[in-house]
Subunit: 106 residues, 2 copies
DNA sequence: TAATTACGAAACCAATCGGTTGCAAATGTA
DNA sequence: TACATTTGCAACCGATTGGTTTCGTAATTA
């Protein structure tokens, strides 16, 4: 089973959960209260997020607090950065071409 | 059918296609040559990417050149930025708490 | 004109997804 | 001890996914 940040954030509910836990740790019930879906449905999302290490569980009595592991989001950040660098390089090359055309026109 | 950047980049092949086209426009065949999957499989990915406006088609004779619409990637960038801001705010609050603890200790 | 090439579209398939219901286990409370 | 609460897990379901094979069509080339 593929389990990475990219697949994790593909679902809108999971994105919302990430945002929620960015503010602070919560229990499954508390999280589920923020959504229309059932506790079990949310629990499944929590499992996916935990499996790809975006979330971390912390047992406290019978409650489980889900914490965000912000570091994992860097995978996404890295990819986006790589993409932006490629684009920048392309524009650089385009600039060179335009520069050459300009000097030819002289 | 949900069709957004998040769902688009969930697939590794599609991420690779985006990177490829960040360098320059290509035809479906040219793109497919970079992968193990068949031309038709790649074509399906191109359709998904086109439907969420990450790609733009440009007919040239019997060839179709797929161009990247880098702007669409900003949806992703925006979400990530929003997330990072939430995290920053959290650490800010944490800092305040630590500050208070420190002055109490005096 | 006939053959080839480039491509999208449709039909099909197994696997996965996101949801549900029902249950079991562990912890807390009366 | 009996009961309630919190939670994970398994079984099931319809929809979607990513892939394949096959076909049709339009543009090029011989």
């Amino acid at each position: 089973m593929r389990r990475d940040v990219f697949q994790a954030i593909a679902d809108p509910t999971r994105r919302a959960i990430i945002m929620l836990l960015a503010v602070g740790a919560l229990t499954p019930n508390a999280i589920a209260n923020h959504f229309d879906s059932s506790r079990q449905a949310v629990s499944k999302h929590l499992r996916v997020l935990t499996e790809c290490e975006i979330l971390r569980q912390e047992q406290q009595g019978r409650e489980i607090h889900y914490h965000l592991n912000a570091d994992k989001m860097k995978d996404l950040e890295k990819w986006l950065e790589q993409f932006k660098q490629l684009m920048a390089k392309r524009f650089e090359q385009l600039d060179t071409v335009l520069e050459q055309l300009k000097s030819k026109g002289k």
